[in-house]
């Protein structure tokens, strides 16, 4: 499959010797929706700036639609549309005027300009506000206006930076439908978002960037499956080390199929205050909640290899006998936290 974007050892080092992007190798298939994830300061924005020709890479290369971002910046710019997180249209101009201005800046033929804009306005359902000033629009309307202005030159590749942040659920879903429709129409979409559900719902592929590196890349399901496999192994190892005094029901073993390290529900045979206190004091426990049915619901705040083992050991050491363990299937958020926390741990080390 042809790639819309490729980066080869793409690196950006700022003047203060801060390496924002470190030898990034990335391939984004043509006509796909790609989710670019990463914690704040991970290097996503710098990557986007290099891909949109706003800044020059320090080393490595990147191509957009086959054009080199350093050698053919104007060709690259013609292929790109950008809907930034902060709506950057001129607030004193109307939706129509802003779109016309963008069209003229991209060199859209004059005889096609207004009809293209009207079509796009219909597509995103903002035509009713075309003569309103952008400053007078609601958040959702502004995002739609921004989409029109970004699509007016028919870009092959569209960057969406947190497009639904701050929007109500209905508008958010309308925009999701629109993103799918744009993708169906042949646009490659690069979606930067912290909304894991959104990325999970929309994206064909997801790349997680942390400290300037690509730390995970797969389909959303592929990433979740990989975490599940990793969890299973970790939990099996942990359970195998539990002393013989503990009882682990057969159903628990079966539940390992659905293990999630971060959320565990444990039922003890001999639940007492000593055991609860020792769990509370255990490292890596983010929250503990005793359900009415007696189950202890735990959230573990670490992906350290020994985190589960330590919690289970603490329970046993305080005299607790484990009757059963239930877990949940990993979410993309779990994948994100695991991927980024591992790198952070390595950084700290």
């Amino acid at each position: 499959m042809k790639n819309a974007i490729e980066t080869h050892d793409l690196t950006k080092v700022y003047n203060n010797n801060f390496t924002a992007v470190n030898s990034l190798n990335l391939e984004i298939p043509d006509k796909s929706i790609f989710g670019m994830l990463g914690p704040n300061g991970a290097g996503k924005t710098t990557t986007i700036k290099m891909l949109t020709c706003l800044i020059q890479p320090t080393s490595g290369r990147a191509t957009v639609g086959g054009y080199d971002v350093q050698k053919n910046p104007d060709e690259v710019r013609n292929l790109l549309g950008m809907v930034p997180q902060q709506v950057s249209l001129y607030k004193d101009l109307t939706v129509m005027e802003n779109s016309q201005m963008c069209a003229d800046y991209y060199g859209v033929p004059q005889d096609e300009r207004d009809s293209r804009i009207e079509d796009l306005m219909e597509l995103v359902d903002i035509k009713y506000a075309k003569d309103k000033r952008v400053g007078q629009l609601s958040g959702g309307q502004k995002q739609k206006a921004s989409l029109v202005a970004s699509l007016v030159h028919r870009p092959e590749i569209l960057f969406l930076d947190e497009p639904t942040i701050g929007l109500d659920p209905t508008t958010k879903r309308t925009l999701w439908d629109l993103i799918r429709e744009l993708n169906d129409n042949g646009h490659t979409i690069i979606l930067c978002s912290h909304d894991m559900h959104e990325v999970d719902m929309l994206c064909d592929n997801v790349g997680i960037i942390n400290t300037g590196n690509l730390v995970a890349y797969d389909t959303p399901q592929g990433l979740k499956d990989a975490l599940l496999e990793s969890n299973k192994k970790e939990m099996t190892d942990a359970l195998s080390k539990i002393s013989s005094e503990s009882e682990v029901s057969t159903s628990t073993k079966e539940n390992i199929e659905n293990l999630n390290l971060r959320k565990m529900s444990i039922l003890l045979k001999n639940q007492d205050d000593n055991v609860i206190d020792s769990i509370k004091k255990s490292n890596n426990i983010k929250s503990i909640e005793i359900a009415k049915n007696g189950r202890i619901n735990l959230r573990i705040d670490s992906f350290d290899d020994m985190a589960v083992q330590n919690v289970l050991n603490d329970i046993i050491a305080s005299g607790g006998i484990i009757k059963s363990i239930y877990t949940e299937e990993p979410s993309l958020e779990d994948v994100f936290i695991k991927s980024t926390s591992e790198v952070n741990e390595n950084d700290r080390a």
């Binding site: 020709c53 800044i55 710019r77 930034p84 902060q86 950057s88 004193d92 101009l93 005027e97 991209y106």
Partner: protein, 384 residues
């Protein structure tokens, strides 16, 4: 290369914004009017009608003549003529009047050789006290000449050697001082207005241009433009053109108001004045571009521009001639473009010089402009 359609959008956008914000438009147009009113009335006017009292402890022709002279002097407003010395002093000390002119009891006594007139002055008001002091000295200088002349006549009557008395008493009359004001009778407001025009253009262009660029960086509007296949020079050129257009309208209002309110003369002609202002405006727009090339917020820009704009305002000879400043400030003045703009503006407006006469100022200004633009565009990055 500059692309005309994109260039025009920058101007159009500014004009639409102004049209849709009448308050902003009024503020832009009112600014030069306020400036000229403030400086014209606040600094360019003459001090007149300063309240004083006269303590007159004598009677006679000279006293009457002195009182008439004082009363007819525009500088003073004689609140009262009194004979009690302490009352007069008290009025000054209470701040009711700025000074008391005290004529001694022997003021009209012909036999008295020294007539000790006292000026009891409220020196806490430096400006008023200086003016009263010089006016009073002037009055009594003239009066003493008159007295001397009369004395001379009376001594001549007494058959004293005329040539000796002439040289002693009337020598001042032999020196005939002809003052030839080559540029006419120029008032302080005349001196001030050309520089106020320059300063207003400097402030508006420098602050306005830089703040616009930094503001659009902050809101991401500039980034959107730079993501399009458009050169930096087109975006910046369009912004400059839009700014220049607005600033020149303001400059026109400023000139018009100066002429209308203060009858300021433009001896070199309106067109030449306007051309000099355009060159000045370009120079300061360039300065704004240079400073804002790497600033990411309006606040950063405001902080960065202050160390340049404030000294420039006070050192470039706007309010006082550069030659009256300490030597270090005089040297400093010549590294600021406003000095050259002021010099050219005064040359054209006050002296009636032509653009050719002020060529050096214009060359320096254009040199600064080229330097600012080159550095500005080179340093300018598309990053936000």
């Amino acid at each position: 290369m500059i692309e005309p359609k994109k260039f025009w959008w920058m101007i159009k956008k500014e004009l639409i914004s102004l049209k849709r914000h009448p308050g902003r438009l009024i503020s832009i147009l009112a600014f030069p009017i306020i400036m000229i009113l403030l400086f014209g009335y606040g600094m360019g006017g003459e001090m007149t009608d300063l309240p004083i009292v006269v303590v007159s402890q004598s009677h006679g022709d000279l006293t009457d003549l002195t009182l008439d002279t004082i009363k007819s002097t525009e500088t003073y407003h004689v609140v009262e003529v009194m004979d009690n010395l302490n009352d007069g002093k008290e009025r000054v000390e209470n701040g009711e009047v700025k000074a008391a002119i005290i004529l001694p009891s022997d003021y009209d006594d012909d036999s008295s050789s020294q007539k000790g007139v006292t000026l009891y002055l409220d020196s806490s008001d430096q400006m008023a006290s200086q003016i009263i002091e010089s006016s009073t000295q002037g009055i009594f200088y003239r009066l003493s000449n008159m007295v001397a002349a009369q004395t001379s006549v009376s001594t001549q009557d007494a058959d004293i050697e005329p040539s000796v008395m002439h040289s002693l008493n009337n020598f001042k009359d032999d020196i005939s001082l002809h003052i030839n004001r080559i540029y006419g009778n120029i008032k302080y407001i005349d001196f001030l207005v050309p520089a106020i025009l320059g300063m207003t253009v400097m402030m508006s262009c420098m602050m306005g241009m830089g703040a616009t660029i930094a503001g659009e960086r902050e809101t991401g509007e500039l980034a959107r433009l730079f993501m399009t296949p458009t050169s930096v020079s087109t975006v910046i050129g369009g912004k400059i053109a839009a700014k220049l257009l607005i600033e020149l309208v303001r400059a026109l209002i400023l000139i018009f108001m100066a002429v209308l309110l203060f009858n300021v003369s433009i001896k070199g002609g309106f067109l030449q004045t306007f051309i000099v202002l355009v060159i000045g405006a370009l120079c300061f727009v360039g300065f704004g571009i240079m400073l804002s090339a790497r600033t990411s917020t309006q606040e950063d820009y405001a902080q960065m521009s202050l160390p340049f704009s404030m000294p420039m305002m006070f050192v470039s000879g706007v309010f006082y001639p550069i030659e009256t400043m300490p030597w270090i400030l005089q040297k400093l003045a010549y590294i600021f473009p406003l000095t050259y703009l002021n010099d050219a503006m005064r040359g054209i407006m006050l002296k009636g010089q032509t653009l050719g006469d002020v060529w050096l100022d214009l060359v320096v200004l254009l040199g600064f402009t080229a330097l600012f633009f080159i550095i500005g565009v080179k340093r300018f990055n598309r990053d936000v």
